[in-house]
């Protein structure tokens, strides 16, 4: 009798052990930067759905504000302890992590059906190099000019299509007592949008790629001229008071409160200007969008787009479930659901912005661009990206000439890109 009992106990024990190993608990640490309530709730909802379908998986979400995220991620990366899934913009920052074994190559999982599902293939390429992939985009957009329709109407101005027309609009707005442009230059990257867009219009793909592969230089004409065009604008004093010390969220507030007529910003602006406005509503239907003006005589195509998007990279020690969850995040249904704050990157979603003209024009601009210029401060190595941001800031502050700014960028590039 005792013997039987013992045997049965062994049986039960071994069975339960077997079951446990099939359902081994797995934890996924996921860092994202969607601080806005409905966006954070959407990610949480997807995590909950995945956890319900996979009871052995626990997904811990850490929500961080953009600037705080960058700082914290740098720290954990130096410590060699990356999160399993984290916000990434692709480009050199991600490639640096890859070169140091801090992210996981997901090419085996990605190749085939998953990879083919992406409409924005160029975006996907920024999350990989040399046939390896470390993450995927979830949103890909374009930087462009957001404007306040009622302020434009009040000043009696039309949408400008060239840089000269644009400067004219700025002047007319100023004369009408309206702050023409909202800018949070305290964080530096919003200002680099202006300079890079001008450089892209002036020099196009060729000038950038030459400077990047070192057959050219950041002191080449388009980059110096970009500074000169920008200086023209800065000299008109078109920005909100105290823009040099202002953060990006604060400037979104200025625009969202209807205190400035334009803002050069990315696809997140429609949400951000509402989120950071005083009443939480933003400017509503007054929001319009137009592409960055063409520059007369520039070598870049006027339809070239500067921008980037968001994606998630997979940390080096991430479990297989993290990759599977990432696949789940980017399936057609979940991408469709996320279109209220992201610009989807997978196929079959051309109709998502049918009733949102602003987002529709961003999507069209993205998909019809002959050349897509990625954010410099993500595409280039951190020290160069940071030098770009710092140098452009000196133009905004009027403390350095366009030549000096270009020179400062070139110095960093010469040191970092030659290796």
């Amino acid at each position: 009798m005792r013997k039987y009992l013992f045997l049965m106990l062994m049986l039960v024990l071994s069975l339960s052990l077997g079951a446990a190993s099939a359902q081994e608990p797995v934890t996924i640490d996921w860092w994202h930067i969607s601080t806005e309530t409905s966006q954070a709730a959407y990610w949480q909802q997807l995590a909950d759905a995945y956890m319900a379908a996979n009871p052995n998986v626990t997904i811990n979400i850490t929500v961080l504000e953009n600037a705080a995220f960058k700082q914290r991620l740098t720290t954990v990366m130096q410590a060699g302890d990356p999160p399993d899934l984290f916000q990434s913009w692709g480009g050199a920052v991600l490639w640096t992590y890859a070169d140091n074994g801090l992210v996981r190559n997901i090419a085996p999982e990605l190749e085939g059906e998953w990879k083919d599902s992406f409409a924005a293939q160029a975006a996907l390429e920024l999350f990989g190099q040399n046939g390896e992939y470390y993450g995927v985009p979830v949103s890909w957009g374009a930087v462009g000019m957001f404007y306040n329709k009622s302020l434009f109407e009040k000043a009696g101005v039309e949408i400008p299509t060239t840089w000269d027309e644009f400067l004219g609009v700025v002047q007319t707005l100023k004369d009408a007592g309206i702050t023409p442009i909202a800018l949070g230059e305290g964080e530096k990257w919003p200002g680099h949008f202006w300079w890079v867009y001008l450089a892209t219009r002036l020099g196009g793909q060729e000038a950038f790629l030459k400077a990047y592969d070192r057959s050219g230089s950041f002191t080449d004409e388009p980059f110096v001229k970009a500074g000169e065009y920008l200086k023209q604008l800065v000299d008109m004093e078109p920005f909100n008071a105290g823009f040099l010390g202002m953060t990006h969220p604060e400037s979104e507030g200025v625009f969202g409160n209807g205190e400035a007529a334009m803002m050069l910003m990315g696809q997140w602006a429609p949400d951000a200007q509402a989120q950071y406005s005083a009443d939480g509503q933003g400017i509503g239907d007054d929001l319009g969008w137009f592409p960055f003006p063409a520059v007369e005589g520039g070598l870049g195509h006027p339809d070239d787009v500067f921008g980037g998007g968001d994606g998630f990279a997979v940390g080096a020690n991430a479990p297989d479930e993290a990759v599977d969850f990432l696949k789940f995040l980017t399936n057609e249904e979940n991408q469709r659901g996320s279109a209220f704050f992201l610009v989807p990157v997978v196929k079959g979603l051309d109709d998502v912005f049918a009733d949102d003209p602003v987002m529709q024009s961003i999507l069209t601009a993205r998909d019809s661009a002959p050349y897509f210029q990625m954010y410099y401060d993500q595409f280039l190595p951190p020290a160069v990206g940071s030098a770009v941001n710092d140098a452009v800031e000196t133009i905004f502050a009027g403390v350095a000439s366009p030549e000096e700014a270009a020179q400062a960028i070139e110095e960093a590039a010469a040191m970092e890109l030659s290796q």
């Binding site: 960058k70 700082q71 740098t74 720290t75 990366m77 130096q78 060699g80 640096t96 070169d99 140091n100 074994g101 801090l102 230059e185 305290g186 964080e187 530096k188 909100n240 008071a241 105290g242 823009f243 040099l244 010390g245 202002m246 953060t247 604060e250 507030g253 200025v254 409160n257 205190e259 190595p381 951190p382 020290a383 940071s386 710092d390 800031e393 000196t394 502050a397 403390v399």
Partner: protein, 318 residues
């Protein structure tokens, strides 16, 4: 010398010597045992990292994997020639000097006022003035970002606008010439309460009869303060000067958040924010280590010098 069959007893003199040696040995063991936990932590988290920094500072290293690219003293040459590092040094010294000449005297006068003056509601003021010190630096910085904002309705500009006709809102944190003084004002707001409490504690240790005696002898209030109170408060003042100087040099969090990473245009960069920005966020840890070594040398020279020359008598008194 023949080998004795008997064990030779030690003489009383030898015995005493052995005892003393044993006592000394015991004492050394005792000291070693009790300092071991502290010393091992000190080695692990202070000495070794300092030596590592010195080693890393000779490399061009991005912090991933072991450093391999040896560049001798290039990091130091670049550092000393970098204009923003010079700005950071000047700013750190400016904060230090302003702290000593404005913040500490302010704290001292308030301590005299609410600590022993005949002011009504002393306790209330004492608490209120100490409150800013209780806030974390990040919270302080964020509160002040709101207060100083040039946006419509922000506190400081609104107040000034109400008092001064035709007042145009000022971007207090946007002017690279004044941002360091704005930073100092906020630092003072946060830290004078701390120094005030130290002074108040010091004042309590001064016997009232000494001051009374001076008054009886015909001393004016000013003379009592100048010749009795302040000299007796000397050790506290020397301590607050020490803390204040080191505090100005080490300031990071509040400056980082308040000024957006040392902006505008790096005009409010301090040594510590410079280290973080140009070392860590740009993934140049070799360079950052060189900054850290220079930073360490400055504070070490000051600390040792100050303690040996100025605070020595305070230690001797104990």
């Amino acid at each position: 010398m023949s080998i004795s069959r008997f064990r030779v007893l030690s003489t009383p003199y030898e015995q005493a010597q052995t005892d003393r040696r044993r006592r000394q040995w015991d004492k050394a063991l005792f000291v070693a045992l009790f300092t071991l936990p502290g010393m091992s932590l000190f080695f692990l988290f202070v000495l070794i990292p300092i030596m590592q920094s010195a080693y890393f500072s000779l490399y061009d290293w991005n912090g991933f994997g072991p450093p391999t690219k040896f560049i001798e003293f290039d990091n130091y040459t670049r550092l000393l020639n970098h204009s923003i590092f010079q700005t950071a040094l000047v700013n750190s010294f400016t904060l230090m000097i302003l702290s000593l000449t404005i913040q500490l005297p302010l704290a001292l006068s308030l301590a005299l006022l609410v600590g022993r003056g005949k002011l009504h509601g002393k306790k209330f003021f004492r608490t209120v003035l100490f409150v800013p010190y209780v806030f974390s630096e990040v919270i302080t910085a964020i509160i002040w970002r709101y207060v100083l904002s040039p946006n419509e309705g922000a506190l400081l500009n609104a107040l000034l606008g109400a008092v001064i006709p035709n007042f145009q809102p000022v971007g207090w944190l946007a002017d690279r010439h004044t941002v360091i003084y704005v930073l100092f004002a906020v630092l003072t707001w946060k830290y004078f309460g701390f120094h005030m409490i130290l002074y108040m504690a010091g004042l309590q240790g001064i016997p009232a009869d000494l001051e009374d005696a001076a008054r009886v002898d015909g001393g004016t209030e000013w003379q009592v303060l100048r010749f009795i109170t302040l000299p007796l408060l000397g050790s506290t003042i020397r301590l607050t000067v020490f803390l204040s100087v080191l505090g100005s040099f080490q300031q990071f969090v509040l400056a980082w958040v308040l000024t957006n990473e040392g902006g505008p245009v790096n005009a409010s960069q301090l040594i510590a924010t410079y280290l973080y920005k140009f070392g860590i966020t740009q993934l140049k840890l070799g360079y950052g280590s060189a900054v850290a070594v220079v930073f360490f040398a400055i504070t070490l020279v000051f600390s040792l010098g100050y303690q040996r020359m100025i605070m020595r008598r305070d230690y001797a008194a104990n």
